[in-house]
Amino acid sequence: MKYLSDYDHDQGLVLELPDHTDAAALIDYLGIPKSRVGMVSANGQQVKPDDILPENAIVKVFQPIFGG
């Protein structure tokens, strides 16, 4: 998470956002370029950019992957 200064991966971030914030708006808020975002999950489930994030959701943002 190099787009945020002082980000501690263990602690994460607690954010207070307006109701009906969707995943795309969260990414914008965090200032992460869309090209650096692979996947977003909320409470362990993959969400699309226009999915509204549930109240108190634990959100994870993944970089693009390649694998084996």
Partner: protein, 575 residues
């Protein structure tokens, strides 16, 4: 550019120039051609007619980074078809730096006798009696061989599983730290090596006679560009070093494609306990290592050293596939137990994927409870102990399934699936079913193409475009496996510019033109040879299918089944 043929029946050793028909080939293209040409497809894979071929990639032993990849080829006792098993560490670089294009092991030693095959820094080959080391586990063996022959060799060996000819037996090879923790896991080639009476290869790492490059300057320029691209890519440049391949756990789980409890579900409630992030956290807190260099000439450093709560070494390197097979697939959320299972498999010489899935089938059949990590450890120890259950586990999930008359056995051509459920990623259904290798994920990894989140254009629940994606990726991967570039360094060949760099390097080595058509042709000829062998071995289109469970059981939470039709599967190889 030498072939070394060693016949363990006659004990003869013959070194000769690479025959014209194999000129310019390396890695999988070479092993598959050779096996198809020289091994009778209907032979007993554990008999004297099978051959075991060790071939570094065409670009191994060059200045290009991330090329210490070895292809091992044979007829597989697990699938009954052709196999190429791929492994890193130091052996490919060592062989290539001695100018060895392929080491071909033929014939068979007398039952119960074992040899070491030693190649010194001058390329001299000798067979040494290994009788005293029969039954040795790989870590103890490597310790002994290091004492005896020094620490400047690459050691490639089998453990008790290979000696017992178990069909999930791996070939283990040493990493840069000298540990036998890199595995040519799939396809039971450890059993072939055991059946030949070959306990270990000991190859000097000091060779200075790699094949000359036709245009060294052009090569180095392209190699520099390639390395730059690998470093610049965030995934290969940073993420893999920090979290290893384990970084795949959370995203694949979030996509509902993480086969859990013998693939009854696609999501594991304890995924975050066994994620790459949690693994890295634990390792750092305990004083282990991440961003660890496991293979020669690697700049990605995706390896790790996992340690216990007292900081003592447990295993290296803990990978996504193992975390899946010994974690989610058996319902186990205890990373320490997973690490222990990884070590045991390396030490006994077993494929972690097949072994985890074998345990999963046993648990699914009611033999033990899902989630019982200690029971899993005990089952793997039984493989070394040679008990009846140990034999079944060591022979893989199909053997376990047959024993328990269980109807949920996730194997394709006899080899288990890997850490992506085909019901949640239809493209993987095509790859698992059609690759000549059997249930194999690296043969045609189409996961990113299927996940819109990772730039994929395909709908992962639809059949549309999946056959084409799998076909093209299988062709591409066959070529990648032939030049000996690490799967994770594919960031260097991404896009038209990246792949052009590879063409330049092949051409700069061979002195002949090489372009896109040649790359495709390389992959196609490899697959054609493999398909031909399998046909001759008796495989038909019926073998390009998945087990019933994937077509009939919707996988929670996305609740889909495989919808790729038989006709679609059969259209994959349109060449």
């Amino acid at each position: 550019m030498k072939f070394i043929r060693v016949n363990l029946t006659t004990k003869s050793i013959d070194t000769h120039d690479v025959p014209e028909e194999y000129a310019g080939l390396g890695g999988r293209a070479l092993t598959s051609s050779l096996i198809n040409n020289e091994v009778p497809a209907t032979c007993d894979p554990l008999g004297s007619e099978n051959k075991l071929v060790f071939a570094p990639g065409y670009l191994s032993g060059t200045p290009l980074v991330n090329t210490s990849r070895l292809s091992i080829g044979a007829k597989s006792p697990l699938t009954g078809g052709i196999k190429e098993s791929n492994v890193g560490g130091t052996v490919a670089a060592a062989l290539a730096n001695l100018g060895i294009t392929a080491l071909i092991v033929e014939g068979q030693a007398a039952a119960g006798t074992y040899y070491f095959l030693k190649i010194d820094g001058g390329g001299e080959v000798s067979l040494l009696d290994a009788g005293q080391n029969k039954g040795m586990r790989t870590y103890a063996l490597v310790e002994k061989l290091t004492e005896e022959f020094g620490d400047k060799n690459s050691i490639t060996c089998i453990g008790p599983a290979g000696e017992r000819h178990l069909t999930a037996a791996s070939v283990q090879t040493t990493d840069l730290d000298g540990r036998p923790c890199r595995a040519a896991g799939r396809g039971g080639l450890g059993a072939v090596m055991g059946s030949k009476g070959l306990k270990a290869l000991i190859v000097a790492r000091s060779g200075k006679s790699a094949d000359a490059l036709a245009d060294a300057d052009a090569f180095k320029e392209a190699a520099k560009a390639y390395a730059k691209a690998v470093r610049a890519d965030e995934f290969s440049g940073e993420t893999l070093g920090e979290f290893g391949s384990a970084v795949l756990v959370e995203p694949i789980n979030a996509a509902g494609a993480f086969p859990t409890r013998n693939a009854r579900e696609g999501q594991f409630e304890d995924a975050s306990k066994i994620s790459g992030e949690n693994m890295a956290k634990i390792i750092k807190a305990r004083g282990g290592k991440t961003t660890h260099k496991g293979c020669a000439q690697c700049i990605i450093d995706c390896s790790n050293e996992y340690v216990d709560a007292d900081g003592k070494y447990i295993t290296s390197s803990l990978e996504y596939e193992t975390i899946w097979s010994m974690g989610g697939m058996i319902g186990n959320g205890d990373l320490d137990a997973i690490a222990r299972l990884d070590f045991l498999c390396d030490d006994i010489g077993l494929d972690t994927i097949s072994t985890g899935v074998a345990i999963a089938v046993a648990m699914d059949a009611g033999y033990r409870k899902f989630g019982d990590g200690q029971a899993a450890i005990a089952m793997v120890e039984e493989v070394a102990a040679g008990t009846e259950m140990g034999k079944l586990i060591g022979n893989g999930p199909a053997a376990v399934g047959e024993h328990f008359k269980h109807d949920r056995v996730p194997v394709m051509k006899g080899q288990s699936m890997a850490a992506y459920d085909p019901r949640a990623i239809q493209g993987m259904a095509v790859t698992y079913a059609t690759t000549p290798m059997g249930g194999d994920h690296t043969a045609g990894w189409v996961v990113d193409q299927n996940l819109e989140a990772f730039g994929g254009k395909l709908d992962r629940f639809s059949a549309e475009g999946q056959v084409e994606a799998s076909r093209n990726t299988q062709i591409h991967m066959a070529a990648v496996d032939s030049v000996g570039i690490c799967d994770f360094a594919q960031s260097g060949l991404a896009g038209p510019e990246g792949i052009a760099t590879v063409y330049k390097m092949v051409s700069a080595k061979s002195g002949k033109p090489f372009g896109e058509e040649d790359w495709t042709a390389l992959g196609i000829r490899t697959l054609k040879a493999e398909r031909q062998f399998n046909r001759n071995a008796g495989f038909t289109s019926k073998d390009d299918r998945l087990p019933k469970m994937f077509y009939e059981e919707p996988l929670p939470p996305t609740n889909k089944v495989v919808i790729i039709s038989d006709e679609q599967m059969d259209s994959t190889f349109d060449f």
